[in-house]
């Protein structure tokens, strides 16, 4: 079992990386806390994997500094960083058995044969591979290979475990199972986990914090609920899940937040309007909107007409068009959706003031 406190604390300071004229990472500063589960989230080419490779020591940053527990490791080669790493596609040693794969980092560290045996045995048990010790990677299923990769990366008790899209090759049910297992391993080992993914639901489900990347820039870091409910910009808002964007005019500060005109009706927002004045975008998640029979003066709301619905089992996704032509999607109980559709003419869309947030108009 991992000693608490062995987990590493990492500090990236102004990290940048260029490949020729391509700017893969730009002026990235990020503190990764001891024992934290941080997800690097972004589309492909956003710089998240480049940052992970810089953390691992496989890629040398063009500028900036990297610290581990206060020690500058910017120029330390990968083999001396002692970061565990799980690669996309696992990168197991094909000529070594499960046991030999897991023992590799211990052999490199010249541990005694008895220690290697006991730690490999413990690790095999912990990831549920008992009975498969003598098999070669090619004889294992995808999920089992994944477990070997995790065991191999954790057996030497690294201060940080780096994971590069480890679940991308697994089918959906297996992925859910492995995610739960990884969460458990994180709690058991107490190690700092840095996890790269482009799957926003995976990021929200697993991490203690999410760092969102796009075009080589770190856009926002925060707890899953923070980045989901209060995205810093339009890209983050859209990347984390479906979201409705409504133009608002004449935004100005008001009691408890801000106020403005949406579809010619006054709407209230709980967020501060200092940074945003005049025209802006009001963003609301589909699950935060509901359908009301009629307008109410003290609640945010606009008129819209239901045009289509998608049955999702637990709820129905309803597509609507507002009077001014904006498209809105809401997630509502099945019977509400049916009623709204049958009504044909306009319904009333409402949302609580604290669920709508303002984004700068246009651009990112």
């Amino acid at each position: 079992m991992q000693q608490p406190g062995r987990a590493a604390e990492i500090k990236a300071n102004g990290i940048g990386k260029s490949f020729g004229s391509f700017r893969a990472l730009d002026n990235l500063s990020l503190d990764i806390g001891r024992g934290e589960f941080l997800t690097l989230l972004g589309p492909s080419g956003s710089g998240k994997t480049t940052f992970l490779m810089i953390l691992a020591g496989f890629v040398q940053p063009s500028e900036g500094k990297l610290f581990s527990d206060g020690v500058d490791i910017t120029n330390r080669p990968a083999e001396q960083r002692a970061a565990g790493m799980v690669f996309q596609g696992y990168a197991l040693f094909p000529h070594m058995s499960v046991e030999q794969n897991i023992a590799f980092p211990l052999k490199v560290r010249k541990k005694s044969a008895s220690e290697i045996k006991s730690r490999v045995g413990e690790m095999v048990e912990r990831v549920g591979l008992k009975g498969h010790e003598k098999k070669l990677p090619a004889q294992l299923s995808g999920g089992q290979q994944q477990r070997v990769a995790l065991a191999r990366a954790l057996v030497f008790e690294p201060g940080v475990l780096l994971l590069d899209e480890p679940f991308s090759a697994l089918d959906k049910s297996l992925r859910g199972q492995m995610q739960a297992e990884m969460k458990r391993l994180h709690q058991e080992t107490g190690t700092t986990f840095v996890f790269v993914t482009h799957d926003q639901s995976e990021a929200l489900a697993l991490s203690s914090r999410v760092a969102i990347f796009n075009h080589g820039k770190l856009l926002q870091v925060g707890r899953p609920d923070e980045v989901y409910d209060r995205p810093a910009n339009r890209f983050v808002a859209e990347f984390l899940g479906e979201i409705n964007m409504l133009p608002v005019k004449g935004v100005r500060p008001a009691d408890n937040g801000a106020t403005g005109l949406c579809e010619d009706r006054a709407v209230n927002m709980r967020c501060k309007a200092e940074a945003i004045k005049g025209d802006a975008i009001l963003a609301i998640r589909p699950e935060d909107m509901s359908i009301a029979p009629e307008a109410s003066a003290n609640q945010n709301g606009i008129a819209a007409t239901a045009v289509a619905s998608t049955y999702l089992g637990a709820a129905t996704k309803l597509d609507l068009t507002t009077r001014q032509g904006a498209k809105v999607t809401v997630s509502v109980p099945n019977e509400v959706a049916a009623a709204a559709l049958s009504k044909g003419n306009s319904v009333w869309l409402t949302w609580p003031a604290e669920k709508g947030f303002l984004l700068p108009d246009g651009g990112q």
């Binding site: 083999e79 040693f93 590799f104 490199v108 030497f156």
Partner: protein, 277 residues
């Protein structure tokens, strides 16, 4: 290999001229050689019996196997180093390595053998140079012996040994090497415990090709061995063209072909043909 029936028919048609040529130029005459081995000078297994008892034939066989084994080790080792540079070096190193691999193919085997004579003979470049710097007083015997044969044959075979190795190294997943380093393994250790074992099929293919080629070498050992280090192909030549003992020459040929065929069969049990190119 996948493909529709007509695809396969087309491929068979395109290969037909080559197959026909091989049958007419090799298989058919070889059947004649097999016939000689059982009929000359008298019908029976006499030549195969002689082959098992003749001291000269036996010593040539053993020398051939020994030289082929040494040449294989030397060639595959040298080819491995060149291939690492060719496949994994910097762009400039790659171009240089490729040049070194391809240029020998453009120079005739005769030219290369005589080139080695010029370098290795008693009054050749190496001996004169070593004498001029006072390193040796008497010239070293570097040629017209087994050493010369091994040098010349290895030189010829290294480029052939490169291709199966290159194929194995190219198909290797780069991330596995990164994984080894990330787990704390030094570059040296990663090379020996991960890179080399993962290119095993290339090493086997390369060694087999080199060994099989070595067994049938004629020109290079004839020139660089100077008649003192006769290999099996030269012995066959001598039996057929100089001492009219066609039966024995034919029997040796048959044994050589069967032996090489068996080695190839063994090779293809471990390596797929496409891994060799």
């Amino acid at each position: 290999m996948r493909g529709t029936l007509s695809d396969r028919m087309g491929a068979a048609l395109l290969m037909a001229p080559l197959l026909l040529f091989l049958v007419l130029a090799y298989a058919w005459p070889f059947l004649g050689v097999v016939k000689w081995s059982f009929t000359l000078p008298t019908p029976g297994l006499g030549q195969y019996h002689a082959l098992l008892t003749d001291d000269l034939v036996q010593s040539v066989f053993i020398r051939t196997l020994r030289i082929a084994a040494i040449v294989t080790v030397v060639s595959v080792t040298a080819a491995y180093a060149i291939t690492v540079v060719w496949v994994r070096g910097s762009p400039v190193q790659r171009v240089l390595a490729e040049f070194c691999i391809l240029v020998p193919f453009w120079i005739s085997v005769l030219t290369r053998a005589f080139g080695w004579v010029a370098l290795l003979s008693n009054r050749g470049l190496i001996n004169t140079w070593l004498q001029s710097i006072g390193f040796i007083s008497e010239p070293l015997t570097l040629v017209r012996n087994e050493f010369g044969v091994i040098v010349g044959m290895s030189h010829f075979l290294i480029p052939f040994a490169v291709f199966p190795l290159a194929s194995a190294m190219r198909s290797l997943d780069e991330r596995v090497l990164l994984a080894a380093r990330g787990l704390g393994s030094s570059r040296m250790r990663t090379f020996w415990t991960v890179f080399v074992p993962m290119t095993r099929s290339g090493i086997i293919g390369s060694a087999m090709i080199t060994f099989v080629f070595s067994l049938g070498f004629f020109v290079t050992p004839a020139i660089l061995g100077g008649g003192r280090s006769v290999m099996i192909a030269e012995l066959i030549y001598l039996r057929i063209f100089q001492s009219p003992d066609w039966g024995l020459g034919a029997a040796i040929s048959v044994v050589l072909v069967v032996f090489v065929g068996a080695l190839m069969a063994l090779l293809f049990r471990y390596v797929k043909p496409k891994q060799l190119v």
